[in-house]
């Protein structure tokens, strides 16, 4: 009697699981008109713009777009594993470093044939470079960006810095900072991405794929790192002691008018303008990151764009979608509502973009920005770069030894056949 009871319970359990799975599976099967899936990695405010653009797109073309929100830091893991399982999305929003990476692994559809020469010429070269890999075009750039210096005009006025006397070299930047009371000049992050403008400004570099060299440990890079460190620990700099939270802290300090300058990109303007010190948006100034002593200047070009998955169910529909999302209409919408820079040269002439003061202010920075090398490993260099920069800024390592460690790690893990330049 007991054994049958056991069997009965076991059967009931199996039945429950099966039924539940069936319910769930059938709920997922729907009939649909042409629908493509788009994995979105944007934040809330930008997603609002995306949704309105999607409804425009659908009413124009009749193609439905199912938008799936994916956390930005999970996008690589999710896209990679889904593509390997054959369940990737039709369209993916990719960060620039992702494109070469995913393209090299066969996860993306080749769109070289679809991109006209006119289009190619229209996209900003610094932005478009990332979408070219191994002689093929893998995607379209949506919004390039670069780091720049934001400053509080009112605080500058109070410190007696005239608008015509803004610093044009990195040493001059240190002097400008010194004009402010202690801890109120600039807030520098302890993040390796943010250190790059100083490395480039002093003539250093990261890697050179053409000559197969790792440059991060050479004399100029070390000089740049030292320069960053001296400003980081200067009396006028806000004491940044919390490396996990420093992005948010820099924003908070700047927004509340506690610090006169920060280094950040165009994506942060929406957040900055909500701060008490920038109720009037004209108070926000944009300053191109100055040149180093040798006349070199740099700021890392970043950004996001759209790619089409290899296993897409409808290539044509996906192509139409990414063309639309990078068209002038879309770029004007993103510029107006989210202060994102357009990736097309022609879009800068559009009224919505032209009237955006901040975007206009960003253009000089974009023009002197440095494109990072387009390599599949391009995004992975920061895994070792980051912790070592933290050690340098914390005093746990000197710039020379810290950067040497970085170079060794890159050679070991990413570029075994490159040479390290001392």
């Amino acid at each position: 009697m007991k054994r049958t009871r056991f069997r009965a319970i076991a059967l009931a359990l199996v039945a429950t699981v099966v039924v539940a799975a069936a319910i769930v599976a059938s709920a997922a099967a729907r009939t649909h008109a042409t629908t493509i899936t788009y994995w979105n990695t944007m934040n809330d405010e930008e997603t609002v713009t995306v949704k309105s653009l999607i409804s425009q797109f659908t009413s124009q073309t009749g193609i439905n777009v199912e938008i799936v929100q994916v956390p930005f830091d999970q996008r690589d893991a999710k896209f990679t594993t889904a593509s390997q399982a054959g369940k990737g999305p039709d369209v993916m929003r990719a960060e620039i470093a992702d494109v070469a990476n995913w393209g090299s692994k066969g996860f993306l559809s080749d769109i070289t044939a679809k991109v006209t020469a006119k289009d190619k010429a229209d996209f900003l070269p610094a932005a478009f470079a990332y979408y070219n890999y191994a002689g093929k075009v893998w995607g379209l750039p949506q919004a390039p960006d670069a780091l720049t210096i934001f400053y509080n005009k009112a605080l500058f006025k109070k410190a007696g810095i005239k608008p015509t006397a803004l610093p044009k070299t990195l040493p001059a930047l240190n002097q400008t900072c010194a004009k402010f009371p202690a801890k109120q000049g600039i807030f520098l992050r302890a993040d390796s991405y943010w250190v790059q403008p100083w490395v480039w400004g002093y003539g250093g570099g990261l890697i050179n794929p053409a000559t197969k060299q790792i440059l991060i440990a050479n004399k100029q890079s070390v000089a740049g790192m030292d320069a960053y460190k001296s400003l980081f620990s200067a009396k006028c700099a806000f004491p940044n002691k919390d490396f996990s939270n420093d992005y948010g802290n820099a924003q908070t300090a700047f927004k509340n008018g506690q610090v006169a300058m920060i280094v950040n990109g165009p994506w942060s303007t929406a957040d900055i303008l909500q701060g008490p010190a920038f109720k009037s948006s004209s108070n926000l100034g944009v300053l191109v990151i100055p040149k180093g002593p040798g006349g070199k200047q740099g700021s890392p070009v970043g950004g996001n764009g759209f790619v089409i998955g290899k296993g897409t169910s409808d290539f044509e529909a996906s192509w139409k979608f990414i063309s639309f999302m990078t068209s002038g209409t879309a770029q004007a919408a993103f510029a107006a509502k989210n202060n994102l820079l357009p990736s097309r040269k022609s879009s800068y002439a559009l009224p919505a973009v032209k009237s955006n003061r901040l975007i206009g202010a960003f253009l000089p920075q974009m023009n002197v920005a440095t494109a990072r090398p387009v390599l599949p490993q391009g995004g992975q260099i920061y895994s070792d770069f980051g912790p070592n920069v933290q050690k340098i800024l914390n005093g746990q390592a000197t710039a020379k030894s810290g950067l040497a460690t970085v170079a060794a790690a890159w050679k070991l893990k990413l570029f075994p056949d490159y040479t390290i330049v001392k």
């Binding site: 054994r3 056991f6 429950t16 809330d44 999710k78 948010g248």
Partner: protein, 302 residues
């Protein structure tokens, strides 16, 4: 931990729970110390959650901009909750349903599997016993972040990717070894004499398990249920990789989408966190009375 040798089986009055019964009345200063320390512990336990909760009633810029010691909101708002729940056609309710389904199924499957396995490992010294015990332990030793790739591949090859069944399988693998060890520990504390008495009365092996041992192990089972439910309810790493369609997202996966490239939607994260925590607390409330010993229920002392 057992009785003192052979005693004739007689019916004895039910045992009292440890902690109850004929004790001296506690002196007032002991009470004060006891309550005092519990209050301190409770404050420490609650405070971060309280902080999350109180922030969920603040508008976004207040969470970020106002000085942190302003704990109480200046502009009390319910809009974070309404925004989270109603976003995207009430997809939050889908997430909730998915989470509930997965958590309940995982608990049922997980507890059942680990109870039977734990019992077998507790009572029987069969050949291969030690290997079995060790192998459960070994499954806990490989870091989850590394084993996630092979597990993902297996689930893909079984074509269970983007399905709740795949997730259920993954969660069972995580929960069952742990729970088996725990339940074995609890089963070990139950005197064998009770089962022997049951056998004498004619019960099958499964019968003694189901009718004698299980009811007496309600505390251990309650702990195991808590653990399995909470693991499934709050798990995010496996769910993020396995679930690809938004209508299958569980609550933690959905909440994770509020973490953006450079910042987080604090107002939504805090509101979402509260909405996720409350059902878990309710499950605790319901199940915590089972933390009472089953030994008081009509035991045969022997």
């Amino acid at each position: 931990m057992s009785s003192t040798g052979a005693t004739p089986p007689v019916l004895a009055p039910p045992r009292k729970r440890a902690g109850q019964g004929s004790r001296r009345v506690r002196p007032w200063y002991m009470s004060a110390v006891l309550h005092g320390s519990l209050v301190v512990a409770t404050i420490i336990a609650i405070f971060p959650v309280f902080w999350i909760g109180i922030s969920s009633f603040k508008p976004r810029d207040e969470i970020i901009n106002s000085p942190t010691l302003n704990v109480w909101p200046d502009n009390w708002t319910w809009s974070n909750y309404s925004d989270v729940i109603s976003a995207n056609d009430y997809e939050f309710l889908h997430w909730f349903g998915n989470s509930a389904l997965i958590a309940v199924l995982t608990t049922i499957v997980g507890v059942f599997l680990s109870a039977t396995a734990g019992y077998a490992l507790s009572r029987y010294r069969f050949p291969g016993y030690r290997t079995a015990l060790n192998s459960f332990l070994v499954t806990q030793m490989f870091p989850a972040a590394i084993i996630i790739v092979p597990i993902y591949q297996i689930i893909t090859s079984l074509n269970l990717i983007d399905s709740q069944l795949g997730l259920l399988l993954a969660y069972s693998t995580v929960a069952v070894p742990f729970c088996t060890w725990m339940l074995k520990g609890y089963f070990d504390t139950i005197p064998i004499s009770l089962e022997e008495a049951g056998r004498i009365d004619g019960l099958t092996p499964f019968g003694t398990f189901w009718r004698i041992v299980m009811p007496l192990s309600t505390p251990g089972l309650a702990v195991t249920c808590f653990y399995t439910f909470i693991t499934a309810w709050n798990e995010v790493a496996f769910a993020n990789i396995i679930l690809l369609s938004p209508d299958k997202y569980t609550l933690p996966v959905g909440l994770r989408t509020y973490v953006f490239q450079f910042d987080q939607a604090w107002e939504k994260l805090t509101a979402g966190a509260m909405l996720v925590t409350i059902p878990a607390v309710l499950v605790f409330l319901f199940a915590q009375r089972y933390l009472v010993s089953g030994l008081t229920r009509g035991g045969v002392k022997g």
